[in-house]
Symmetry: C2
Subunit: 211 residues, 2 copies
């Protein structure tokens, strides 16, 4: 696990190709030979990081939206969860989002399939909302991609040391997304509690539900 943590940190900071085996070794406080006791090839390590991160996100999204028929609540949960994950695990998510084309063809196919499965949850929430007349967008697929990129961007700049706590960040992004979807402004604060609990459970608690 020491190796995995080192790899996430360095891959996020310098990129997969920018990180050498010896960088990895010194970050993990091991010799470059010992590294291979814990991992396969360097690419195996990257694949493992990406697939487990994506599976975790997919799993969390399923839990956070379970039992929510209302598309508005569902999308709000998806946005909040995505933002929370990216803010709480910026390194991991940055690797997932930025290093896809460092993968071999075979591995990329599997990773992209996972990502597509996750995006399907967003697509359904949006199209359901459009069908029910609560969302208004001329190009739902484009809007989905725009919102996903917007939310993923959080990992590129958010710092827990900044003035904005995670809950406020997630709430704000949910409002941005609903605004972009032409949903009438709701004064009510969204029900973030379930999202926070899912995040705390799935990523073993970097989030303190202090509110």
């Amino acid at each position: 696990m020491r190796v995995r943590a080192a790899a996430v940190k360095l891959f996020a900071a310098k990129g997969f190709h920018g990180t050498g085996i010896r960088d990895l070794a010194s970050e993990a406080a091991l010799s470059s030979a010992s590294l291979y006791h814990y991992m396969g090839t360097k690419e195996d390590l990257l694949v493992e990081i990406m697939t487990t991160a994506l599976r975790r996100l997919l799993d969390a999204a399923g839990k956070a939206t379970a039992g929510a028929a209302d598309p508005v609540a569902r999308l709000r949960s998806l946005v909040a969860l995505h933002v929370l994950a990216h803010a709480a695990r910026p390194a991991e998510t940055r690797v997932v989002d930025n290093e896809v084309d460092a993968l071999s063809d075979a591995a990329r196919t599997r990773v992209v399939a996972l990502r597509d499965e996750y995006e399907g949850l967003w697509a359904r929430a949006i199209s359901d909302g459009v069908a029910e007349g609560v969302f208004h967008t001329a190009h739902p697929a484009v809007t989905r991609l725009a919102l996903l990129e917007m939310c993923s961007g959080v990992a590129r700049w958010y710092s827990p040391l900044g003035p904005l706590p995670l809950e406020a960040l997630a709430t704000h992004y949910a409002e941005l997304a609903l605004g972009a979807l032409g949903h009438p402004v709701t004064v009510a604060v969204p029900d973030l509690r379930q999202c926070l609990e899912v995040v705390a459970q799935v990523w073993d608690m970097p989030v303190q539900p202090g509110f």
Copy 2:
């Protein structure tokens, strides 16, 4: 120029560290030795690509918003221009957005300063709109970052072969952004003509104003 074009293509596709000198040479149909007749180091090449692209974007943004006092029109122009640039020059913009941390400290400082100058235009448009009461957002700085990431994401997926023409894409993103900013829905189609002309001029015409 042959070398620069090859570098933009390969850096965008495989990343700076993922692209070797010999990859560059064969893409440019030159020997690896001849490459150095046209460029300094590999990093010099990256720096040149990033700074000229950013300067061009900054210049274009200045032209597109010149003389527009209305913050709504200004932000609409910024969004449209940003989206058009990213859709029309996906490779170049992807290099600018993704390879910042492949730069040395000195070079990164210069590049980030350029990017900050550009983001300042967005920040001013948003804060002016908030001050005038036409935008409503609790955290203007966060909203700015969110919108920028949303618009930059276009370079990651847009294809000119898709069903959506550039004009429609830019219009759609402007509507998404205004919605996120809580601006009352305006039925009027934004005045994209000036943006299209600026894009056609600054990037020497990949856009056909066929409308």
